[in-house]
């Protein structure tokens, strides 16, 4: 297998240039997917036979919840790559994931809470899915707190990478909590027994919203990572050229 692309991505000037070109594509595609997903979810999809119109919260809740775990998986993977290959760009990507991931987690908790009030009769319950999602928020906050507490960037990278990798244990707990324990939270939203658990008129807008959130995350991550790379490489010669300043 040819790993040249991987090593080239580890080059800060190459990453900075490529990321800058990719951001507008991700952003526009995210916008298009979000608009079509919202039209489908809020306008075209029929009401649920049990939850009525209240189920429409899932078109923002499920993508936010999925992205909260996906962002953590990306953060931990990048942190692992940075730790093993000592790749500075990977640490920059990991550091850039945390704030966005924390916001996705907060949105998932808040929208889930707003869905829970009319459906369960309570905004919050110490349910395994909700509690493990809350633990995820604390992991993000802990990661950012740890980074902020250490002045030396290399030491902060290593310490936070270890924390990110340890926290990966929470991802399968979040995903399988509805199977492993008696949970108030409903089962898997997309697939049940290997089949789609909802009709295409609901599933397609939901998938479009998930695509929109994923592309949005990619765009925001790359913007943040470009800034992080600039800060880390502040004394490098390529910086002046990259930002349009002659050295």
């Amino acid at each position: 297998m040819n790993w040249i692309w991987f090593h080239r991505l580890g080059s800060p000037p190459h990453f900075f240039r490529i990321a800058g070109k990719m951001v507008p594509w991700f952003a526009w595609l995210a916008g298009i997917a979000a608009v079509t997903g919202l039209v489908g979810g809020l306008g075209l999809a029929p009401p649920d036979y049990q939850q009525g119109e209240g189920y429409r919260i899932i078109f923002v809740h499920v993508p936010a919840a999925v992205l909260s775990t996906l962002a953590y998986a990306v953060m931990a993977s990048a942190a692992g790559v940075g730790l093993i290959w000592r790749m500075n760009v990977a640490h920059a990507v990991a550091a850039s994931c945390a704030a966005v991931g924390a916001w996705f987690t907060l949105v998932a908790l808040a929208t889930g809470s707003l869905w829970g009030r009319p459906m369960w009769g309570t905004y919050w319950e110490w349910d395994p899915r909700l509690t493990s999602e809350l633990v995820l928020l604390f992991l993000y906050l802990g990661y950012m707190g740890l980074r902020g507490a250490i002045d030396d960037t290399a030491r902060a990278d290593r310490a936070s990478a270890v924390l990110a990798l340890v926290g990966v244990i929470n991802l399968p707990i979040i995903h399988y909590s509805v199977d492993w324990w008696n949970s108030l939270h409903q089962g898997h939203t997309l697939l049940k027994f290997g089949k789609a658990s909802m009709p295409p008129s609901m599933l397609v807008p939901l998938l479009l919203m998930m695509l929109a959130f994923t592309l949005y995350f990619a765009a925001i991550l790359l913007v943040r990572a470009r800034g992080e790379v600039l800060r880390r490489e502040r004394n490098a010669r390529w910086i002046s050229e990259a930002i349009g300043e002659r050295p």
Binding site: E53, L114, I243
Partner: protein, 54 residues
């Protein structure tokens, strides 16, 4: 239109969910762009300082 906005009586839960999400997404765009702009501004300042020193 009012029927759609009412969301079958679930509007106090549906619309705040969308508003919270919109706010968080917009805030993240602002924060990411501000972070990159600050890093670029700092890099430009450094480049100008280096140029004036040489």
């Amino acid at each position: 239109m009012m029927h759609w906005l009412n969301m079958g009586g679930y509007w106090p839960f549906v619309w705040p969910s969308y508003l919270i999400t919109l706010f968080a997404l917009a805030l993240n765009i602002y924060l990411a762009r501000r972070s990159l702009a600050a890093a670029k501004s700092e890099a430009r300042r450094r480049a100008q300082t280096q140029r004036s020193e040489t």
